[in-house]
């Protein structure tokens, strides 16, 4: 498949086939998900020795553990016959015994025990070579755990690149950073994973139409056109209404808190972007940071037309219990599978993908021409010493960047 002729973000055109084709999907698993830094979870999910949780890296089940103070991540696959050695979402364990043939792995990945090692393997199996398959590299950013399968991947901070000074305002704007509220919302959306990643990345345009019902009932103010979109490079990006997304008609305590916070903290030039708005860290970690709540989102690929969405709610560790509770409730009411906003996103994504079953539909392009060649450096637009290019709030600038990055990795 000639990706260069199908993916032409420079002209604002991308073939619909990259959202349906099985060959493209398989190539994404190899070229994107087995190479990029991927978000696994937050350190506050595993505060104690022996804590663990399971998640995905691409379509691979992954086990994340804390052992002896070190966070590690492994393929959740027995090195003998591939059975999942861990079958719960979270818990605490010093070791994991494969239920198939009984191979036992320590939570640091070492192969501890093999039934019949002496009698059946004649002590000739080198157990040191058959520990759980570890990620090539693991690092954290503001408590966010990332890992990559690529031993030649750049350092995490280089991978985040221009996104880092902005993402830092998501994770570290108060003393102590952020903590995750317990529990993960998980649900299946019958669409390509990129629909969700690119929507969070830069689709400010859909809000007024898709989410008209929440405006209709006064839960959200009518979207204003004043705002910005920022493409800091490497396929990452975010955007926001001026002053922050999601102020309601009825004020709430957290909204006032954010306004005071923005004025009171140190002179970091990126403070003016608090709350960040919505965005995506390439390829599939999205966030939403509004005047009402803060979340992280993972779009795990489960085939070209199925995504497993995971949504997690975050608060500043130093936040008062009352505000923490307000954020939790605001989030549940607004986003996730039952959120008053997000129910409509699911409706759009599922129906778009359903329409792509047709042959003729797939011969067409999606249009990404909004704001083409209308961006300028952040430094120029805002007079701040910050990286990236800035566009209008309604723009497809960051999405074009995303698919340039996507094509570059897919062709490598």
């Amino acid at each position: 498949m000639q990706l260069r002729s199908l993916v032409r973000p420079e002209q604002g055109l991308i073939s619909r086939q990259v959202f349906t084709d099985h060959g493209v999907y398989e190539r994404e698993l190899e070229k994107i998900f087995a190479r990029c830094w991927l978000y696994l979870g937050h350190v506050s999910q595993i505060p104690n020795d022996g804590d663990f949780f399971t998640t995905y890296m691409g379509a691979d089940s992954v086990l994340v553990t804390r052992a002896g103070g070190t966070v590690r991540a492994f393929l959740n696959s027995c090195t003998h016959r591939g059975m999942k050695v861990c079958r719960t979402d979270h818990g605490n364990a010093r070791d994991f015994t494969c239920p198939y043939h009984g191979w036992n792995f320590a939570n640091d990945g070492r192969l501890n025990g093999v039934p019949g090692l002496r009698q059946a393997y004649n002590n000739e199996l080198d157990v040191s070579k058959f520990g759980l398959r570890s990620v090539a590299n693991l690092d954290t950013f503001g408590g966010l755990i990332f890992a990559t399968w690529d031993p030649d991947a750049p350092a995490l901070l280089d991978y985040l690149g221009g996104m880092a000074p902005y993402l830092d305002r998501f994770t570290d704007r108060m003393e102590g950073g952020i903590v995750m509220i317990g529990g993960v919302q998980k649900w299946e959306v019958p669409c390509n994973w990129k629909f969700i990643a690119e929507n969070f990345l830069a689709d400010s345009y859909h809000v007024a139409t898709t989410h008209a019902s929440v405006v209709d009932i006064g839960f959200r103010k009518r979207p204003q056109l004043r705002g910005y979109q920022i493409a800091p490079g490497n396929g990452h990006g975010f955007c926001s209404e001026q002053g922050g997304i999601g102020e309601g008609v009825a004020q709430n305590a957290y909204t006032d808190f954010i306004k005071r916070l923005r004025e009171s903290i140190d002179d970091n030039p990126a403070n003016r972007f608090i709350p960040l708005g919505h965005g995506t860290v390439f390829p599939n970690l999205s966030f939403l940071d509004t005047m009402k709540f803060r979340l992280l989102r993972l779009s795990h690929p489960r085939g070209p037309a199925l995504t497993e969405s995971h949504a997690m709610c975050f608060v500043d560790k130093a936040l008062s219990p009352e505000l923490r509770e307000a954020v939790r409730r605001n989030f549940i009411l607004s986003f996730g599978p039952s959120g008053m906003f997000e129910v409509e996103d699911g409706e759009m994504w599922g129906e778009v993908e359903d329409g792509l079953r047709g042959y003729m539909t797939r011969q067409m392009d999606f249009n990404y021409a909004m704001g083409l060649n209308r961006d300028r450096p952040v430094a120029e637009q805002f007079g701040l010493d910050l990286p990236g290019r800035a566009g209008f709030y309604w723009s497809e600038l960051a999405q074009r960047d995303y698919y340039v990055r996507w094509r570059e990795l897919m062709e490598a």
């Binding site: 529990g183 209709d216 497993e308 009411l333 409509e344 409706e347 759009m348």
Partner: protein, 166 residues
């Protein structure tokens, strides 16, 4: 409570549940809201796969964690002419099976099995199966729902959105 009055209470619970189902199936949500007390707690904690089988705790994440005020907001949104999720409307079928009740001073706590089938557009189908614990309060010889906890059995919700009420 003797056996006869237990039967009578169970019959009253079933009649109340049937009435609620008729309201929900015909999407008469404004009338449905009248079945709740003003101090309502309407809650669906997220389920996860763990050794205890417990769903998320009250201070953790949920799919619904509503007061009567926020549940009313959800209903108003669902009835907005811009709520694409219900234009055209879903066809929804409720199967509620009361299993046990516990009579307290003013309240009856009812444990039920719950199955909600939703079909939308040409062939979309969603099945929500779980348990429901209701606290029913006697008000003017009738029941009102003071608390509802729904726990779905599937930890990864098999639907692109949850637009039905439980």
């Amino acid at each position: 409570m003797d056996q006869t009055s237990r039967h009578a209470t169970m019959a009253a619970i079933q009649a109340f549940q049937a009435h609620e189902i008729l309201l929900l199936q015909s999407r008469r949500y404004v009338d449905w809201l009248k079945l709740f007390t003003s101090d309502l707690h309407y809650w669906m904690p997220v389920a996860s796969v763990n050794e205890t089988g417990e769903a998320a705790a009250p201070d953790e994440l949920a799919h619904f964690d509503d007061t009567l005020e926020t549940l009313t907001m959800r209903v108003r949104r669902a009835m907005s002419r811009f709520a694409w999720t219900e234009h055209p409307p879903s066809r929804i079928r409720y199967f509620v099976m009361p299993l046990w009740f516990d009579q307290q001073a003013d309240n009856v706590e009812v444990d039920s099995n719950l199955m909600v089938y939703q079909t939308r557009l040409q062939r979309e189908e969603n099945l929500f199966v779980g348990t429901r614990k209701d606290v029913l309060r006697r008000v003017d010889k009738d029941f009102r729902i003071a608390a509802r906890k729904v726990t779905l059995d599937r930890s990864v919700v098999a639907a692109k959105n949850i637009t039905v009420f439980f």
